[in-house]
Symmetry: C2
Subunit: 225 residues, 2 copies
Amino acid sequence: MTGATLAVRDSGPMNAPLSARDHTRNLKRERILDVAAELFFVKGFHGASMENLCSALGVTKPFIYYHFKSKDEILLALYLASVNSALEVARAARASSDDPVAQLKTFARTYAMLVLTDRQRIALISREKGLLNAEQMRDVTALGRAFLDVLSGLMADGVKAGAFRIDDPALAAHEVNGMIAWAINWYNPSGRRTPQDIADHMEDAALRLVGIATNWPKAEGGPGA
Amino acid sequence: MTGATLAVRDSGPMNAPLSARDHTRNLKRERILDVAAELFFVKGFHGASMENLCSALGVTKPFIYYHFKSKDEILLALYLASVNSALEVARAARASSDDPVAQLKTFARTYAMLVLTDRQRIALISREKGLLNAEQMRDVTALGRAFLDVLSGLMADGVKAGAFRIDDPALAAHEVNGMIAWAINWYNPSGRRTPQDIADHMEDAALRLVGIATNWPKAEGGPGA
DNA sequence: GTATGTTTATACCACGCGGTATAATTCCGG
DNA sequence: CCGGAATTATACCGCGTGGTATAAACATAC
């Protein structure tokens, strides 16, 4: 919301609005994180070495250690960025309308787009668990819980409004989340389907999942062929 | 189906029905695989060392290397066992009835049970990709594709029968699969929900996901209150 | 009771890992 | 054009890794 999803080193006594230096610093950090996410996605966190990261970036090792103090800190930053963006999507969907049905449609579409376009980062949340200790993961865990709470709240509102035919909002939240997030495991960027196509389908599927009958078939003609 | 899901060393000229020796050998292998799955689930494949595995098993390193020729072979065996059991579940569901609706119900329930009770092994399929080369993964990939084909076939039959209100069977297969399989990421064995509870809900959710309205509310009284 | 299959004990290896040290250098905003 | 920040170059360290060697001990079936 405030614009800075990643922790930003405050420079000086006040929380000054990003000096030019800090700005470029953050750009470098972002670049490192991007390449690291791709590497971790392909080879796994432990499978990707810092030397791999160096050569992929075309830099030397001290360069990276100038910007991050350890490999773990890179992973943590990736965790936080991912779960933060997911939380933002959920909150934005909640704020987008008063109607739970519209909220769910917005959520499903934008969340699917996030997952499909940012899958290398998003995938880390589910794949690389337990690599950091609980203390380090505290914020990540809290944000993840917040994400699910927002989504559960959406479901509960849909039930209250008499629109959703589900009997367990928390479980329905997991189901919608899983249905969409699982795409990280099968989506092929070089395949036929575009993220927009998939997001469209996910929107409809989310509605069906909460018990809302969608128009069918797509062209009019009534059910039953 | 035939009883042996894992590759069994054939002992002798004929494919003899498991000598006592081979039998115990397979038990040992299974025990190793079980503990390895737990370790890989918690610490990741690269994060879990062979020494970790040794002490968890209470054996020495040559013992393991007597039964498996490398760490990779252990991972591969786990892959195969997992994807095989998923495929068996899908095929059994297909064979359980002529009615696609009944097939889907059976699939959702049994697949959810498999995921929840075997999540440490199942999770590997989605988490540890790209660690083995394509050649080694050939069989795993083929079985995974077969699993999705069976599921897509179920969906297509449901459409043909006029029971499912979906317009893309392959995508619906991914959606149902994801909705259920994602449980590996949130299910807590020491939580309130039992696998049976969850499987029940997943069965209903799968029906809704393909556009079948379930009875609602659970107790009669008609919709709207 | 002996041959074969299985497991331990113990020690080892080469390698890649995350991370650091230090000095020299290049960049660039004020 | 200077001075501090950023980056390279290069070399190194200790450690844990996957995997192996070798010899001895145990089990067990025939």
